[in-house]
Amino acid sequence: MKFHWFAQQYYTKLPPDYGDVNRSSWVTAPINVADPVQVGEDYHMYLRLMQQADGLGWDSLLLNEHHQTSLAMTPSPNLIASILAATTENAAIALCGNSLALYNPPIRVAEEIAMLDCLSGGRIIAGIVFGTPMDTAFSYGVPPIELRERFHEARDLITRAWQAEEPFAFNGKYTQLRYVNTWPRPVQEDIPVWIPGSGSPETWDVVNALDYCYGYLSFSGKQSAEPIVKGFWDYTESQGGNMNPNRMAFTQVICCADTDEEAERQYSEAVKYFYRQNPTAIEFATPPGYNTPASIRSTLNRAKVMSDDERRRATRGELSFWEYDELGYIIAGTPDRVAQRVRELATDLRIGQLITCMHVGNLPEEVAAENNRLFGTEVMPQLRDLWADQEDRWTPKVSQERVAAKFGSGLPQ
C-alpha cells in the first residue's frame, strides 16, 4: 500500500477554552486568537515535517484546501506545494484538493497544477474537491444548489485544457473562454486525479465513470467510515466498476511511540485538542442545496455506527485516549501494534492509499518528528506488501520509481 503524509495545518496555540466559548471554528472563527507570526512558525513546522517524511519513504505529501478556519490554515495548498516541489525528491505531492468551483475562471487551477507538475518533475496528484459547505457556500458564497454543476463544468474544462493540442473555445454555463491554451502543460500525460467525497452516490458515479481514485477523508476513523467505504465498494461492484484497492484513499490519525504507555503520555493532550477545538456551527455544515435529495436520503438511511453520545463526547475531547483508539479515530501504540491495526483497517476496507495524519492539534514538533521516524522506519516496511501486486495508476510514476528504488516496492525481490 501507499502512504501519504498529512496534517491538518491547525493553529497550534489556540486558547484552551477556544472550542467551548466559540460557536464555530469555521466561517466566523474569531481571528483575534491567531497571531500571524505564530501562523508563519506553524507553516515552517509543517514544512519541516513533510520534508522529513520525504526522506523516510512516504509516497506523497498531501495537502488540503480550507478557508476561514483555525483547523486548516491552507486556503491555498498550492503555495505550500510549490515549496515542497522545490525541496523534496521522492514523494509525490498530493493536492487533495483544489476546490474547483471556487476559481474563476477555473483554468487557474489547470495552470497552477501544471506549474507544480513541471516544478516537481511530474510528481503531482491532482485531487479535486467539491469543498466543504463551510468553504464553498459560506466563505466563498457559491449558491449551494449550483456547486456540483460548477464543479463538473470546471473539471471538464481543466482536464481538457491539460490534454488539448490546440487552443479551443469553451462556452460553459459558468465560464466562457474564447482561447483555452494554458501554459505550461503538466509533465505527466495522464495526471492522476482523485475526488474525495462524503458518500454521495452521484460522486461515486463520476469517479467510477472516469476511473478516478475516490477518497473518504474524515477524522472519525474506521467505525464511522465503514458504511461509506464499504458502500462505495458494494456500489462499484454492482456497477461493474474497477475494484482496485488503489482507488480508495482514507485518512487515519497515527500516534506511534516506543510503548503504548508512552503513546498515551505523548499524544493524549494533542488528540483531545484536535477534536475539542473544532466546533462547527450546524448551519454552516448543512446549507440547503449542498447535498442532493438522493444523497440526503442515503445518509438518513445509513445505519448509525456510533451512538450520538459517543459522537458528542468524541468531538468534545471527552473520550479517553484508548476509547479514541478503539473507535478508530486514532491508531496508537508501538510500531507493531500500529502496523497490525493499519493492516486490519486497509484489508477490511480495501484501502490502497492510506493518508496518515502524523501531526494533530498542538502536538509538539519533536513528538511528530518521532512519530514520522517510527512509522517510516518500523511500520511502513511491514505494510508495503499490502495490495502491492495491484496496478497503481493513481500515483505518479516518477514518485513510485524513486520511492521503490530507495525503500522497496513491497513486492518480493
Binding site: F138, G141, P143, I282, E283, P288, G289, N291, L300
Partner: protein
C-alpha cells in the same frame, strides 16, 4: 398537476392551486414553501380566480434545471400565464415570490394589471445588512414571526406514511432551490429593473420582519414609479398569516380600486 412545455427549453410539471372565479390573480409563494390552501388565499378567491403555482424546484414541481437566472423565471411566468389563457392579471408575490413578481412586472409590463409585493426579497441595503435567511434555524424562526411561531406554518406538504424522511427532504429541496436566487445575498440586480415597472404597486410589509427591516420596503416604494406602502403591525415575514384580516383587507382594497 399542470404541464407547461416550452419548446427547446424544457418541461415544467407544476402543482397549481386554483380557487374561485372572476378576475385572475397570480399568487407567487415565498422562499420556504407553497402555503397550500391557506385562509388568506381562500378569502382572496371569494371574488377572483386565484392561481397559485408551486415554483419549479419546490415540492413536486419540476423544471428547475431549466433556469439559469432570475430572468428565466420571469419568462417562465410569462409563458405560464399565456398557457393558462390569462392576461391583464393581478400579481401578488410574497418573499422570494415578491422578487419573481417584480421581475415579471418589469419584463412583461403588458401582462400585469396591479402588483402587490409582500415582504419581498430582491434588493440589498449596505447600511442595513439583514439576517441570513439560511442562518441558524432557531434564530431564523424567531426572526420570521412577530409573536410566537404558529404550531403549524402554512404548507402544501403532504406527509407520506411510507417515507419517514419526507418532511426533511421537502424542506431541504425547497430551501436548496431558493439558494439559486438568494445565496449568498438575495440580490440578482432587481434594483435596476424596478424603475421599469408600469403597474400600480402596493408594497405590503409586516413591520416585525426580522429578515427584512421596513427600510427594505421603503426602498422598493422609492424605486418603483407608482408604488404605495401598507405597513402591517404585529406581523413579521408572514403578515397574511399573523394578520390575515388586515392583509386581505388592504390587498382587496388596492386591487378593487
Amino acid at each position: 398537476m399542470t404541464t407547461l412545455e416550452i419548446p427547446n427549453i424544457g418541461t415544467f410539471d407544476i402543482e397549481l392551486l386554483e380557487e374561485g372565479s372572476g378576475a385572475p390573480l397570480l399568487y407567487l409563494h415565498g422562499y420556504e414553501r407553497h402555503p397550500g390552501t391557506a385562509g388568506f388565499l381562500t378569502r382572496l378567491a371569494e371574488n377572483r380566480r386565484v392561481l397559485a403555482p408551486e415554483q419549479p424546484g419546490y415540492g413536486r414541481s419540476t423544471g428547475f434545471e431549466n433556469f439559469t437566472d432570475v430572468i428565466d423565471v420571469a419568462l417562465y411566468h410569462r409563458e405560464l400565464l399565456e398557457s393558462l389563457g390569462v392576461e391583464d392579471v393581478d400579481v401578488v408575490g410574497h418573499s422570494l415570490g415578491g422578487m419573481f413578481a417584480a421581475e415579471l412586472a418589469a419584463i412583461a409590463p403588458q401582462l400585469v394589471r396591479r402588483l402587490v409585493l409582500v415582504n419581498p426579497f430582491g434588493i440589498w441595503l449596505d447600511d442595513e445588512p439583514t439576517l441570513d435567511p439560511f442562518g441558524p434555524a432557531a434564530e431564523v424562526k424567531a426572526a420570521k414571526w412577530h409573536g410566537e411561531a404558529p404550531k403549524d406554518e402554512p404548507t402544501n406538504f403532504v406527509p407520506d406514511p411510507d417515507d419517514p424522511h419526507a418532511a426533511i427532504l421537502f424542506s431541504a429541496q425547497n430551501l436548496g432551490s431558493a439558494t439559486k436566487f438568494m445565496w449568498p445575498i438575495a440580490d440578482r440586480g432587481l434594483r435596476r429593473r424596478l424603475p421599469l415597472i408600469d403597474a400600480p404597486t402596493l408594497v405590503v410589509h409586516g413591520t416585525s420582519d426580522g429578515l427584512l427591516p421596513v427600510s427594505y420596503a421603503d426602498e422598493f416604494v422609492r424605486l418603483i414609479p407608482n408604488a404605495e406602502l401598507a405597513l402591517i403591525d404585529a406581523a413579521g415575514h408572514y403578515p397574511m398569516v399573523e394578520q390575515e384580516d388586515e392583509f386581505v383587507s388592504v390587498v382587496s382594497k388596492f386591487l378593487d380600486a
